[in-house]
Homo-oligomer: 360 residues x 2
């Protein structure tokens, strides 16, 4: 894998990831871009003990542009996009409308009053384009192209983890207007949070409690129990197992774990790397086969934070759809959005059986 770094006209960083032997991508960004927007702010919710990112700049972000005006396509025919090169393999660039400011130094919490704490929105938001082909989707890529995406996710995790302010790196994809996508080009995002996310904090508390009570690792025990039971396993290969969790929150939801527990993407061994493209493509094809066409989904790598919980937390990829039938979506209505109490209409074993049947 080769890597080439440039800066866009407004100073944002862009990194090309290519297979060895690809041509150089050194074209410059000739655009006259406005200055980068003011940074975001983090505000502390004292009841939920968690930070909220307040980013007024995002209200004006690009919203579903036509295909011939796509900012993530390569620059061609005199039209300069966010990617100056005329072609690319995988490319990562800082988000023009970030929820986190790009500030790399961490700042102590500032307090407006004893109940109102805030700090500048350090951390970083990146966009990762999976392919130069506007109409492709991750599921259309070849295993070799997926391997390059995995290499880029891994490299971003390593590089972003070295930024002083960054506490956790989240590589994810939202696909489909049903989950709020504002650009159709095949892409994902990477958030380098300046805090440990609420979801991961809770998992860490549970896993720490479990090891204290049992001496064992909760992730290891869950994966072993799922493999032994089999009722919720969707697909496995030499290095990975995908199953529907016993207490799934979403109509169709899979968790994909490497057989050997690791803290984050940088710790995967060569076998796990080699075996990932095939099983993830298989899984995404099953999601698409559920309802015919492109199933809207969210998919994200749960990684251990940079500085804590690395001996207990387990890297895994959670993929789920908000579609509960061909013409109906699952909404996060008041019980979910107001009380975090989830109701799921699809029994997890049925979801797993359905996904197992849909082998391509």
């Amino acid at each position: 894998m080769k890597r080439e770094r440039i800066h866009l006209a407004d100073g944002r960083e862009l990194v090309y990831y290519d297979h060895d032997g690809a041509p150089p991508r050194a074209a410059e960004d000739s655009r006259d871009l406005p200055a980068r927007p003011a940074g975001s702010e983090l505000r502390y919710d004292p009841f939920l003990a968690s930070w909220v990112m307040v980013a007024a700049n995002r209200q004006e972000r690009t919203y579903l542009p036509p295909a011939d005006d796509c900012p993530l396509c390569p620059s061609r025919d005199g039209k300069v996009t966010e990617v100056p090169a005329s072609d690319y393999g995988v490319v990562v660039l800082e988000n023009r409308f970030p929820a986190l400011s790009g500030e790399s130094r961490s700042t102590a919490s500032l307090t407006a009053s004893p109940t109102h704490a805030y700090r500048p929105g350090a951390g970083r938001c990146e966009v990762i384009c999976y392919s130069p082909r506007h109409d492709a989707s991750l599921v259309d890529l070849t295993p070799s192209e997926i391997a390059l995406v995995l290499a880029a996710w891994t490299d971003r995790t390593e590089e972003l983890s070295r930024i002083e302010a960054v506490e956790q790196v989240f590589c994810f994809e939202n696909r489909g207007v049903e989950v709020g996508v504002t650009l159709q080009h095949p892409h994902g995002q990477i958030y380098a949070y300046p805090f440990v996310t609420p979801r991961t904090s809770r998992a860490l508390a549970s896993v720490t409690d479990y090891v204290r009570r049992t001496g064992r690792n909760l992730y290891d025990d869950v994966l072993a129990a799922e493999r032994e039971d089999g009722a919720r396993v969707v697909v496995e290969n030499r290095s990975w197992t995908a199953f529907v969790p016993y207490a799934a929150r979403w109509p169709y939801e899979t968790h994909l774990y490497p057989r050997r527990r690791v803290a984050d993407l940088t710790c995967l061994d060569d076998d796990a790397r080699a075996d990932f493209p095939g099983i993830y493509l298989d899984l995404l094809r099953r999601f698409d086969a559920l309802f015919g066409g492109r199933t809207p989904y969210m998919s994200g790598w749960h990684q251990a934070p940079v500085r804590e919980g690395r001996e207990h937390l387990a890297l895994h990829l959670e993929t789920f759809t908000v579609r509960r039938s061909a013409d109906k979506l699952k909404y996060l209505a008041s019980s979910e959005s107001g009380m975090d109490a989830f109701a799921n209409d699809i029994v997890p074993e049925s979801a797993a059986a359905r996904l197992r049947e849909l082998a391509s």
Copy 2:
């Protein structure tokens, strides 16, 4: 307020709430209804330490029927609906497609394996119809009609809190297809959960920690700080204050607190009761004025659980919209749905200023 109770043809309970002097509502349910669906199941997520409601019956629930086939309108012209009477004030009935089973006894957690715990879905789901008028919305009701709705919420909280299995009562409304509403008739819902919800558990942990550290109540201090600052206050009256929270998660979000802290609706005094309809109608009108027309919203009463935290937690009503501009919605995409890390595009002080301007 008078109350009249009947049972529907399949055994579900229905309660009419009327102002004194209304005619009797004793009509019987003459329908030949199928047996009630199998109960739901609760499954425990060991990582998030919370219960998920698995309710396969809900997949077949009634979905956006035409107005002349509305199940929540009164029964008229020979058409028998879910409400046998030909008119009503407010009516509450058990949900035909419940996420919680209706089972009233609590059951200890059953364990499928050390990592896989479940129990039958005790607790209850109710529908509350605010008005017999199909095309009305809560915001169209008179203060006297809203007072009857408040009386019904209060009575339901009292009655459901007496059920052995019930740990917390949540009265809420989802309005608009944008937040997943499947019936257009003006109605809300009431979930009587057989567990303390994750949201409330976290608030209770924070408030308990705050009292230990400061000797004071976090809700009292936040409300006092908001009233003193004023920048996020939207509207107040003698008994209530509505403000946008400092770390708001939603584009437009208000929290409405009674001046005197109480644990739940049953503890409100007469002044607070008398002053509620005016300020809630005012607030809902401001939400509708934001974008013209009916703004989709979720609104729910946060109440202390039945058996814990009652001396620390504060009854309040959280109302928010998923609409961030006239033509755009806020989606809970991967950062929110995957990591519980919220980004908000609208600065809370701007949201409050906008809502303040929109007085009707």
